[in-house]
Every structure is written in structure tokens, then in C-alpha cells.
Symmetry: C2
Subunit: 526 residues, 2 copies
Amino acid sequence: MSDATSTTPTTSAPLYITMHPHDNVGIVANQGGLRAGAVFASGLMLKETVPQGHKVALVDLPAGSAVRRYNVTIGRALKDIAAGSWVHERLLEMPDARGLDNLPISTAKREPLPPLAGYTFEGYRNADGSVGTRNILAITQTVQCVAGVTDFAVQRIKAELLPKYPHVDDLVALEHGYGCGVAIDAPDAIVPIRTLRNISLNPNFGGEVMVVSLGCEKLQPERLLPPGSFSIVDARSDAALDVVCLQDDAHVGFMAMVESIMRQAEQHLQRLNARRRETVPASELVVGVQCGGSDAFSGVTANPAVGFCTDLLVRAGASVMFSETTEVRDAIDQLTSRASTPELAEAMIHEMAWYDAYLKRGGADRSANTTPGNKKGGLSNIVEKAMGSIVKSGTAPISGVLSPGEKLKTKGLTFAATPASDFICGTLQLAAGMNLHVFTTGRGTPYGLAQVPVIKVATRTELATRWHDLMDLNAGTIADGTASIEDVGWQLFKLMLDVASGRQQTWAEKWKLHNSLVLFNPAPVT
Amino acid sequence: MSDATSTTPTTSAPLYITMHPHDNVGIVANQGGLRAGAVFASGLMLKETVPQGHKVALVDLPAGSAVRRYNVTIGRALKDIAAGSWVHERLLEMPDARGLDNLPISTAKREPLPPLAGYTFEGYRNADGSVGTRNILAITQTVQCVAGVTDFAVQRIKAELLPKYPHVDDLVALEHGYGCGVAIDAPDAIVPIRTLRNISLNPNFGGEVMVVSLGCEKLQPERLLPPGSFSIVDARSDAALDVVCLQDDAHVGFMAMVESIMRQAEQHLQRLNARRRETVPASELVVGVQCGGSDAFSGVTANPAVGFCTDLLVRAGASVMFSETTEVRDAIDQLTSRASTPELAEAMIHEMAWYDAYLKRGGADRSANTTPGNKKGGLSNIVEKAMGSIVKSGTAPISGVLSPGEKLKTKGLTFAATPASDFICGTLQLAAGMNLHVFTTGRGTPYGLAQVPVIKVATRTELATRWHDLMDLNAGTIADGTASIEDVGWQLFKLMLDVASGRQQTWAEKWKLHNSLVLFNPAPVT
Ligand SMILES: [Ca+2]
Ligand SMILES: [Ca+2]
Ligand SMILES: [Ca+2]
Ligand SMILES: [Ca+2]
Ligand SMILES: [Ca+2]
């Protein structure tokens, strides 16, 4: 397990952080900020006092020149700004929030990233070619009605059966509030339905789909998992979906239901228990990245390190998803320009337009995502703020776009459109097929999922130290000046291979910290 | 515990059931229906074969005359219908679905129901005057982020602390998916926020409010439970809300968080443990009624028996809520006419209009609630169907109306507007202050809540027999001809007093079958 306490802040020497060699501003890293006269290692001297997390001009910025951070123009200087000055929002011409018209489409043609060969992990190869990082039996539920009975059965299975199958890591009931009492034919009902379907097919569940159904629910098993939605791997069975229906006449009394679930579960446990890890290329990783409980350092330390690691993963041929529509919305032009085809750019615009309309329908707009204190934290405008989230996506071309709840089909970097809500985003990334989750946090959240390992990256050493047994990696070393963004990116990459291989457990796994699945249901309930 | 198996079907003599003395149609109760020539106890002979659950004319119905069921006109005869004929939908002029204009307002002036004195139960009297039927420590959560840590603490409290406090029935974490990543300032966000607030104040939790918060969530503890929203009962404290904030600097390491929660919980457990049941009048019951997994007999046996019991409760001065907006929508005129004041009728119209607009916004309409097979089951039209749900409300004037998530302030019969979804309805009735829940089911559902006892009433003896250890009361005896609606209504009333007193556990309590809270959030997520 990563010991986040091993690195403590060792430097109070003046330090700024840049995101990219082309940036002409840096971020003051030092706790409490820096006073005028402070001299950086580069020789640059501060002309005025700059608070922590705020920007300092690295070169003279003539009036009208582009101010660059994340290799992106975040504004233009309103007057001459001398090197060493505080670049606060009053000195910047603020770009307007971008509408969805006249966006740059696939303009950022870059050299492909150089391949990164030779990295592997130990995973569970599935019949459909996907690879699991854990070997878990999931019990799909069609409807909340069955949750109590299923939970009762799960407790008994964990106590009585699971110890007999030591190669199975865990048993997880896929509980949710959907399935009945919902407008199941409303246009947007497709989102929660395909989310549930695709979560059942997550690579960590080994293709062993079993369903507990009530019987009279609107979301019938055949609607949730229609024939052809997955291959039945059970040669013994009649190739039908394995469904325990509580209302079956055969269930006389509660225990008959429990025993049906246990009996069916044991068949799947037997097959899962026969599986072994094998060496697979790093390209089999399907990583979902997101952030939550962000602070002024999220976009300075942890997210840039994740971005560097995202590039490593893409170079290794893996799949990486970034998400959080409301957070990236205001820098949509950065995404459309990076789309590898015009069709993908249009798909992203479609997702943003859909979300704009969804928010408007509910009397909200994209300001619903902003937090008080953004400017206090040094973010001059919404584009700079959005870039702090987008930076997790690294620099690769965006070669895939998913609508909420869809299953990932392509390798490389994908924008998986989801709300920013940590649990809804995580649930939708699970549906997309994520087998490893990376989560950055500055304020700290004890996030964990039962379905995939969640690697939590702290933005600050203080948090990593205080939450020494919850944070898996400390990106605060970047602000401390003891590690570079590249260093932490590589640390994360290697930690991912260890965690994916089961050589290392995340803290959330060790403590069994499991947040709920939270479905995105944009359709009405009834 | 009620043994639902003790009554088995004993009669196959022809039997019809009426809902009200003024009804001129009866419902054929016999399994498989009845053939032409069958003679009922009244002497009425069937002129033609009538399927089970369908209507038979009890008297000659001349063309144009009103066909009455539930003491309500469900249509007019299209031609002369002789006594003993099958009254199917092709013989009825269908009333149009009611719009929300020109409704009868408080027209059904009735004699007040005669008071019913002398019934009591043993309950926990709270400082605010309300009465609990159970003595439970609830841990309020501001946000899903804290769910994993809270669950870890709850397991330890149950193992290490709860056994020391034998007068405390249980410990319940109020887990939910709300609190952050939501459009918290959208107009409809008031619904989930007040729902969570008011659930914390449910009478079964004894006023011992404790909160686990993350720290950076949008739904801050002070927003969830602002000063004045409840009285602090803890004389030792500084009268502040009892909040464990996980991001507090004092929490160094995961176990510090867990121990904070345990330490605070123990203070509340100590006070709860000092409480004892006392004899209180039946008027302290706050009963939420709903149905789910309905069948053709829901509106024939279980719901009418619940309606009779509702009248008993109202006569005893208790509070009863009925709900399920989408199910009662099409008989809105029955509700507005029963409103005790025009203001209450307008409030119900407002709730219906709000829900119509909510469904429309999401591309659905009220047909989203209908099920295939309604006509096959004998329901001629949507008014008749809605009456099968409304009949749970008995005959008393409607003297209160609640919007979703509001707290009940009045005794008597209240329409608490909620979706029909079993879990959302139950969650909102919990917020309203329900201390006892009654749930009727025909197809069968193993519904249960951790927060209040749920009495489940089966519509058919076959279900009650098959699910002998899940159903608490069998209303199928009405269809069997071995009990009347009044008989079962009285059985339910007495069972409620026993369950409320803790003399009897419901089956869901015995098995600890707990469904999740499911919040109604009509506002967007972000
Ligand atoms: Ca985020
Ligand atoms: Ca997030
Ligand atoms: Ca119902
Ligand atoms: Ca219901
Ligand atoms: Ca749960």
C-alpha cells in the first residue's frame, strides 16, 4: 500500500509551478503565498506579494499579449505586466464563456504520442476479450423492491459460501433506486436503463451475469438484458439469462427466495473461482479519471500529474476516460480542437448542448457547478477553472465520445459525458467498462467503490499526511518542490499497474469503503 | 406476529364484493370467474359468464343510468343492462380523464365521522409532542461522500455499543445520493433538501439529531438543518447542531473519523436508552398508506379494508396520509369534492398541475403510470383504476395537503403529494413524520424500511399463504367470503396498535428487510 506519509513538506524556498513549457505564468506553490522580493530558483524576483495558488508573470507580458496556462490562452493582458508581477483577474481581458457555435473542430493536429511498450499487469481475461482487475460476483437487480432480500442473501453468501471460493475477491449487489415507479418510456429513460445493463457487464464481473427480479416491475429482466447483450458462458444452462424471480410460485416463504439466490450465486462463484490472473499488456487498462472535493491545487498538482499519466496510458495503448460535463463545458473549444475527427467534435458539442438543455429544463444553468472562492483560490475565469479539470485528460487526441451510460468500444482517450457528481460520474464510468478508477481530491473525500479499485490522489501534502490511510498517492510533492509533475505521473502509472494486478490494495479496498451506485436518471419518476 | 397462513380459502360459493351500500355493481371474487347460471347468496343469478375481478350488475341498469362503484359514478350504461349481466367496458360510456378546470370544490359535505374513543398504544413520547413507535438512533448524512465511513462506524456501533443500550431498537444511517453535484439552487431543489431535513426529525428518532458531514459539500449542515428547525435536547452541549465533519483538522487518519462518529453516537444512545414506552392515545399514530405491486384485487380487498381502517384512525383522532399522485390523478374530482375547505381543494389541484408539468417537461404524461392488463383485470377506465387507489383514503373529509417532502402539521386525513414509486413515496411519508406504514400488495413485494414498521397487507389468500412469512395481514379473506371489508379493517386497526406498541414485529422487521431511501429530486444534477 502506498504510504502517503513518507513525504513531508521539506522546502519553504519560493516555488512556482508551470503546467507546460509554453506557459508564461506560474502558480505560487508556497503555503501562505510569497512576499515581494522573494526570488525563485530561476532567478525571477517577485515584484509584489502573491497569494498561494495565484499566478505570477514569468516573462514581461505586453498589453494585449496572450496569457498562457495549461498551454492554453486563458486571457489577454489588459496592460503591460512585468515579469514577477501578480497576474490577477483584474489584469486579464476575460474570454466570454464559449457558446456552442463556431468552435474550432479538430484543429489541434499533433504528432501522435510515441508508443510506450513493455508495461504489463496481471489481470483476469474475460471471454469477451476484456480484462478484469478484480474477480467479483455481481448480482444485478432489476428494481429496488428486491434490495432487502438480496442483501439478506448476500450476507449469507459472504458468511457461508465465499470462504469456500478463495479466488473470488468479493460479492457485490448492484443496488439502485430505479426499475419501477419511473417513466420507463420517456425519451431519457434510456440513460438509467443502459447504465444498469452495462454495469452488469463490467469486466470486473467476469461475464457471470445473474439477476434478481421481483416479477411485476416495469424494468423486466429481458428489457434490462435483452438476448444478445452478452454471451452466456454457462455451458450447463439452457443459455437463458440467469434470473431469480422472487414472485415465482416456487418461492414459498422468504427462505425459499434466499436459497434460490444462494444456489444460483454458488454456480457463478464456482466458475469465478477457477479463474487465475494472467500477464496482459497495460493496453487492457480501462481507466476512468475524475476529481472531487477540489481545491486551488487540484489543477496545479494532482490533475496535471493525472494528465501526464493519461498520456502514458494512451501511449501504452490503454483506454482512458475523462468526464464531468459541467466542469469542462466552459473550455469546450479545447476539447473540440483536440477531437481526432470532426464527427467526434460534433459528438462532444451534442453532449454539451444536451446538458445545457437539461439544466435549463430544471431552471438551472452551468453556473450551478461553480463554487464560491474560485477567484480567491486564484482562478481568474471559468476557462481557467475548466482547464484545471480538463488537464486530467493530458494531451492526446480525443478519439472517442460516449453518451451517459454507454459502453466503451475504443482504446485511447475518450470523453465520457457524465455529470460531475462523484458518484454519478463513477457509476457511469463503471457502465462504460472502467476497470480502474483514479480520483483526485484537495479538500479530501473518502470515496470508494465496491466494483473497481479507486486510487485516490491528494493535491497537497498536508491532506496526504492527515489522511495518511485514505489517500493512495500524494501529488502535493509537486507543490513542495520535491517532485515534478512527470515524477508523480510516473508514480501513479506504476501504482496503477500494481493495483490493477492485485499486488496492492487501495485504502478504500482495505477499509471496504463503498459508496453507493447513483444512477443518472434525467427522465421523470412516476 | 400475524400468521397470514391461518386463513385458507374455504369457499367456492359464488361471491361478489361491493365497496359501498350505494354501489350497483359488484366484483366477482371467485378464482377463475363464474359461469352463467351461478347464483349468489343474495339470490342474484348470473346471466352470463363473468371473469374474476370483473363487474356484475346487481340491479337492472337502464340505459343512461349511473354505474356506481366505490360510491362513485364510474360511467353510464350505454344500453339497458339487466341485473346479473357482465358490466364490461364496452357497455359503459367512458368519462373523459379529468382536466384541472371546473372541478367540484368541497361539494361532498358529509356528517363528520363519529369519534372512536378508548384506543391506545404504547409509544415513545418526544420533547416536541410527537410519539415514536420505535426508539432508533438515526445518523443524518449531508452527502453521499460520507456513506462509506458512516457505514463502517455503524457496523462498529452495532457490534460494540448497541448491546450496552438494550432499550434502543436500532441504529440507522440515513444514506442518500444527494448533497453535492446537484443544482442546489434550482427551484425544485427544495424538495430533496426538505425531505432530508424532515426525515431527520421523524418521531421514531427521538429528537436525537446527529449529522455526519464531509466539509466541502454543497448541502452544508446549517443549510440542511438551520437553527430553529428543531430543539436541541442536549443540555450538556452548547446547543449547536451535533455535526461530525470528516474534513476537520482533528481527524488524523480514518480511525479518528470513525471514533468521532462512535463517540457522538454514544451520547445519543445513552439518552435514547433512558426512554420508556408510555400509554398514549391512538390519535398519536401518524400512518402513511400506499400500495405497490397491485393486482385486480388491490382495489377490491386490501385497499378497501385499508380505507375502512383509515376511517377508524381518523375517528380516533389520528393522522393518516395517502399519496401517489399519478395513481389518484384521474379521479381528482373525487379528491377536490372531499376537501374540507376550498383552499385544500386548490392545493390538491396545484399538486396535480405541478406533476402534470413535471412529467411533460420530461417527455412523459400520466399514462406513464398505467399498466398493461388493467382492462383484462376488470378496470373499465382510468377513473375506476384511480378509485382503486383512492379507496385507501376511506370516506373522511380531506383536511390537509402536503407538497413532497413537507412535514405534517395536522391530524385527520391528509393528501401527501408524492410519486407512486414505493420507495420515493415511503421516503416522503417518512419526511412527513409517519410513525407507521401500511402497504398493500397483490403481486407481492418484500418491502421494508429501517426507519418505521411496515405492515404489509396481501390482496389474495394465495399470496398470503405462499408468502406466509412476509405478509402481515391477509385481506384475501374478503374475496374468499370468510371476512368482510369491515372485519379486515378492524383486524388491521388492532394490528397497527400492536405493532406501534412494539408488542408485535412486522415480518420486514423480523428479517431486517430494509429498502433504501430514494429521494425525489425533480431538479437537475450537475
Ligand atoms: Ca471534478
Ligand atoms: Ca467529480
Ligand atoms: Ca400504488
Ligand atoms: Ca406505491
Ligand atoms: Ca445502500
